[in-house]
C-alpha cells in the first residue's frame, strides 16, 4: 500500500547465524563446555541445545541471555548484523603490498601463504560489508593526554 518498499535482509539464516555464534562461544571456553553440560545448566534437554545451535529451534531472548552469561560473553555478540545474513559477494583483489607482506610472513611456505591470503580476503570482505560507525559510537579517536 502506501509503505515504501526497502531492501530487506534475508532472515532465513538468522537463527542459523545465532546458533553458530553460540557454538563458537561454547567451544572457545576453557575447558570446553559440552552441549550436555550447557543443557543441564540451562535446565533444558541436550537435544534443545543441539537444535538451537543448528538454528532449528528458536530460543527466546531470556534463554539466549542465560546462554550468554554461562558462556561468559554478551548477548549482543550473538546477534548478527544484517549484512552477515547475506553470502559474501565477489572475492577481493589484494594489492601488491599485501601480497608481499603475506609472502614475508609465510617464509616460503606455500600452504601458509594460501591460508593467509584466504583469511585476509575474508577479513576484508567482513570490513566491506560493515556499515560505517556513527560518530558517537567511535571509541578509536586518539586520546589527547595533555588535555586531561
Amino acid at each position: 500500500m502506501g509503505v515504501k518498499s526497502r531492501p530487506m535482509a534475508d532472515f532465513s539464516g538468522l537463527y542459523g547465524a545465532v546458533g553458530r555464534k553460540i557454538r563458537t562461544a561454547r567451544l572457545r571456553l576453557e575447558p570446553k563446555l559440552s552441549q550436555a553440560k550447557l543443557a543441564k545448566r540451562l535446565g533444558i534437554s541436550r537435544v534443545s541445545v543441539v537444535n538451537i545451535e543448528a538454528g532449528r529451534q528458536h530460543a527466546p531472548l531470556s534463554l539466549l541471555w542465560q546462554i550468554a552469561e554461562i558462556l561468559e560473553t554478551e548477548l549482543v555478540l550473538f546477534i548478527p548484523r544484517r549484512n552477515e545474513l547475506h553470502a559474501p559477494a565477489a572475492p577481493v583483489q589484494l594489492d601488491p603490498k599485501t601480497i608481499h607482506q603475506i609472502r614475508q610472513a609465510a617464509v616460503g611456505n606455500k600452504e601458509t601463504q594460501q591460508k593467509l591470503t584466504g583469511a585476509i580476503s575474508k577479513l576484508k570482505i567482513t570490513l566491506e560489508t560493515q556499515p560505517p560507525l556513527k560518530d558517537e559510537e567511535r571509541h578509536d579517536k586518539p586520546v589527547t593526554r595533555s588535555a586531561r
Partner: protein, 174 residues
C-alpha cells in the same frame, strides 16, 4: 611509549569500553573499539592479523590455538590498532608470526620494537596492574607459590607463562 604510560593507556581503553573487570572480556573490548574478531585458519606460523580499511578494523586469530593464546593475540592486535596505525593510509595490515613466549625481549629494532610494545600493551589490557594487585590481595596470594600463579592466570584467563612474565615486568615477582 614508557611502560607506565602504556599501562595507563591500556586502563583507559578498558574504562572507556566499560570492560574493566576480571577476566577482561577482550572480544567485547575489540567490538566496542569497532573491531570485528574472527577465528581463522592461519597455519602454524601465524598467530593473528589485523586488517584495517579506512579506520575500520578486523582481527583474525588462529583457530587452532588454545583459548588463552587467542585472547593474547586479540589483545596484541588491539594494541597495534591503538598504537601503530599510520595516519592517512587507506589500507593497513599487520601479520603476527607465532612466537613462543620469550622471557628476554631484547630485540628492539624497527618492527621488533612495535612487536614488543604490542606485547606489553596486550598484557596490560588482559592483566591491568590495579586489578592484578586487587586479586592478589583479595585471595591473599603468595606469589612464590606456583599454584597461586596458576590460579591467578586462570582468573584472568591467560597462560601461566604470560602471567609470570607480566608479574615480573611489574616487579611483583622476586
Amino acid at each position: 611509549m614508557t611502560s607506565l604510560s602504556l599501562d595507563q593507556h591500556a586502563e583507559e581503553v578498558l574504562r572507556d569500553t566499560e570492560t574493566y573487570k576480571v577476566p577482561v572480556p577482550i572480544e567485547v573490548v575489540a567490538q566496542r573499539l569497532g573491531l570485528k574478531t574472527e577465528a581463522a585458519a592461519l597455519g602454524d606460523k601465524v598467530s593473528g592479523m589485523l586488517v584495517v580499511e579506512n579506520d575500520r578494523g578486523a582481527i583474525g586469530y588462529n583457530v587452532s590455538h588454545a583459548r588463552v593464546r587467542q585472547r593474547f593475540t586479540v589483545a596484541h592486535e588491539i594494541a597495534h590498532f591503538k598504537l601503530h596505525l599510520k595516519k592517512n593510509r587507506r589500507s593497513q595490515l599487520f601479520i603476527d608470526p607465532f612466537v613462543i613466549f620469550r622471557r628476554d625481549d631484547n630485540s628492539a629494532t624497527g618492527n621488533d620494537k612495535q612487536e614488543v610494545e604490542a606485547n606489553r600493551f596486550g598484557a596490560a589490557l588482559l592483566m591491568p596492574a590495579t586489578l592484578l594487585q586487587k586479586e592478589i590481595k583479595k585471595h591473599g596470594l603468595d606469589l612464590d607459590d606456583e599454584d597461586a600463579l596458576s590460579l591467578l592466570a586462570k582468573r584472568f584467563r591467560v597462560s601461566t607463562a604470560a602471567m609470570t612474565y607480566r608479574l615480573s615486568a611489574l616487579g611483583l615477582l622476586r
